[in-house]
């Protein structure tokens, strides 16, 4: 029997075919490092996984429960700082330290939730920004613990051992690839489980109509807090992964408002409230902003002969385009909001539905 919500949202359950395709795709993703050796290609894939984790994390509270938090950098930062502080000060390996980071994020989310969930709509958005800014400024102003504006540099990452056997020493990008992929698969799995559980229906009921959900006996505050706590722990996981991968964190890279906005945009551009929306968002955003950042676009414009390298325009593009990779986020979000309010995934679905109708 199909349940009413999947009918409403057009989401289908797992059929044998989709299961097989998904498993094949997964297997090939796990096999990629055996064939691809370019560190840059692996780096891009790792960024994709990182964005996916962040986007899926936000999607739980923003997409499913409909509470637009624009303060998720706070949880990202909690994961990053929790893990690195323990590693640098106490020598606790990150695979234990990350739990402290997640714990910190969950506690923070409960505090934030209890303050902000009394507010609705735009007021909730503003409050979530304010709390995240308070967190950022606090981290900045307690240098005895967080090293303040200087940030924390991870000097050495202990090798991962099981018993006496060294599994990996984290020298190459390959172990990070596998960690990132596994975490991304894990967050997608969590999202899938939530969407297909009672919890997911409660969240969506709250999103669609808070008052109606309340009158049906759904404890609004409790379930919003649950959604935020899950969302915060996934986001802090991304933060911890970022910290051990990049090996340097400071308040301007892991706690700024810009990061909160980027996290939201991953989900929005892909399509919120869907399992694969954030994946699509990451697939759109990461390659585009990396292409700008690494000057691929400027170089290819020059190579194609459209712009002469030594002309004023060529020099200008090469010098400046790399600094403006966030511009693409701005343009994409404006285009998506104006022309594809359901995100890229929703837009594709609509196109497909239209074609189907055309065929019939």
């Amino acid at each position: 029997m199909r349940n009413p919500i999947t009918q409403l949202t057009g989401q289908q359950g797992l059929t044998p075919v989709t299961t097989i395709i998904a498993l094949l795709a997964l297997a090939s993703l796990y096999a990629i490092p055996c064939f691809v050796e370019s560190p840059y290609a692996l780096h891009i894939m790792i960024l994709l996984f990182l964005s996916t984790i962040m986007g899926e994390g936000w999607n739980i509270i923003g997409g499913y429960a409909g509470q637009y938090s624009v303060g998720h950098a706070a949880y990202f930062g909690a994961g990053a700082y929790g893990t690195l502080i323990l590693l640098n000060m106490k020598g606790i390996p990150p695979w234990y330290g990350v739990w402290a980071g997640i714990g910190a994020a969950v506690i923070l989310s409960l505090i934030i939730g209890n303050i902000c969930f009394r507010l609705r709509g735009p007021y909730f958005v503003l409050a979530s920004i304010a709390v995240a800014e308070i967190v950022r400024l606090t981290v900045l102003n307690i240098p005895s613990i967080t090293n303040g504006a200087e940030g924390i540099l991870l000097s050495d990452l202990p090798p991962f051992k099981i018993g006496e056997r060294v599994i990996t020493d984290f020298i190459s990008k390959v172990p990070f690839y596998y960690i990132g992929l596994t975490l991304a698969v894990f967050t997608i799995l969590v999202t899938w489980l939530i969407q297909n559980s009672k919890l997911g229906y409660y969240f969506q009921a709250i999103r669609e109509d808070q008052d109606a959900a309340h009158s049906l006996g759904i404890n609004l505050n409790f379930y919003k807090n649950v959604a935020l706590a899950i969302s915060a722990s996934l986001t802090s996981l991304a933060g911890a992964f970022y910290a051990i991968y990049v090996k340097f964190i400071d308040p301007t890279t892991v706690l700024p408002l810009d990061l909160s906005v980027q996290i939201v945009l991953i989900a929005i551009i892909g399509g919120i409230g869907t399992i694969f929306g954030p994946v699509i968002g990451a697939l759109v955003l990461v390659p585009l902003s990396e292409a700008l950042r690494s000057n691929v676009i400027a170089q290819s414009l020059i190579n194609s002969g459209l712009v002469k390298e030594d002309s004023g325009m060529g020099v200008f593009l090469k010098e400046h385009l790399a600094h403006a990779h966030v511009l693409i986020y701005g343009i994409l979000v404006v285009v998506v909001i104006l022309f594809m309010p359901d995100g890229v995934l929703g837009f594709i679905k609509k196109l497909a539905a239209r074609r189907k109708r055309g065929d019939a």
Partner: protein, 290 residues
């Protein structure tokens, strides 16, 4: 701490609060007429700062004189933004409106960075660091001039909104869009006007602080946040509230910096913001709208 230090902080707080009020009034007019929270407000102000900077360095026009050029240009810019982008999302989900304005803000700040790099620019006038000495209390001269200009603009705006037909039409649209439309008011035109006024106020605020502040593409987001704090404190949609809110936040920042520490003054501001949201979300002047 001596009394004079406190008094000095109080006075400079009021002076900078005047500029904050201008930013807040712009945001509140836009919210009042369109129910859109403009997350690009600080970036509009940043555009005003750059305009002022280039008018000064390229044409040698004094920042306080150049607002005569900045105001109409920013009005036009805001009006176009409203017509092309904001107008399309009126009445849709508030989240989408927020994201659209965030996107527009990102485009503005990053386009600026693309054009002029992210280097800090400093506009140094002959009076940038000069001050007036009043019985042991020194008052920044550019801040005093900007406060006077702010006061003049605010009074003019009041007169415009209260006494002229167009002003009354804007207020009517803010009170009830549909009823205003039924009364024959062109609400679309009022929205363009409101956004134009809002962005020219933001641009003016940018022009007024440019002699005393660093100019860089990302300067906007800090002021966007400040604008929210001011308008929520005063009550969304209330001009009197935004004026009060601006001056209160100016005082809190400047007195907080000398009594607590300048590192924590923003934490103080955001804490007040949260408290207002929780205790009295309608703000100081929440009931009376515009």
């Amino acid at each position: 701490m001596t009394f004079s230090v406190l008094l000095q902080a109080l006075i400079s707080g009021i002076l900078i609060g005047g500029v904050y009020a201008l930013i807040g009034i712009g945001l509140t007019i836009i919210f009042g007429v369109m129910r859109v929270i403009n997350f690009a407000h600080g970036d509009l102000m940043m555009v005003g700062m750059y305009l002022t900077y280039f008018l000064f360095t390229l044409a040698g026009i004094d920042p306080f004189v150049s607002i005569a050029i900045t105001i109409p240009l920013m009005f036009l810019f805001g009006g176009i933004l409203q017509k092309v982008f904001i107008n399309r999302i009126l009445g849709t989900l508030p989240q989408n409106q927020i994201l659209l304005t965030i996107g527009l803000g990102l485009i503005m700040s990053n386009a600026m960075m693309l054009a002029f790099t992210s280097d800090y620019k400093i506009l140094t006038t002959s009076y940038s660091s000069s001050s007036i000495n009043l019985g042991g209390i020194s008052i920044s001269q550019p801040l005093t001039v900007s406060f006077v200009i702010t006061a003049v603009i605010t009074v003019f705006l009041y007169w415009f909104l209260m006494k002229t037909d167009t002003g009354q039409a804007i207020r009517a649209t803010a009170q009830d869009r549909e009823a205003a439309q039924l009364m024959g008011i062109n609400v679309k035109w009022m929205s363009i006007l409101a956004f134009g006024i809002g962005s020219s106020l933001a641009g003016t605020a940018g022009a007024l602080i440019s002699p005393t502040y660093y100019i860089f593409p990302q300067v906007g987001s800090a002021f966007t946040l400040k604008a929210f704090v001011i308008t929520v404190l005063g009550g969304m949609g209330s001009i009197v509230g935004a004026t009060l809110g601006g001056i209160i936040i100016g005082i809190v920042e400047s007195v907080g910096a000398v009594t607590i520490s300048s590192d924590w003054k923003d934490v103080l501001v955001f804490t007040i913001f949260l408290l207002v949201l929780l205790i009295k979300p309608s703000g100081l002047m929440g009931k009376s709208r515009m």
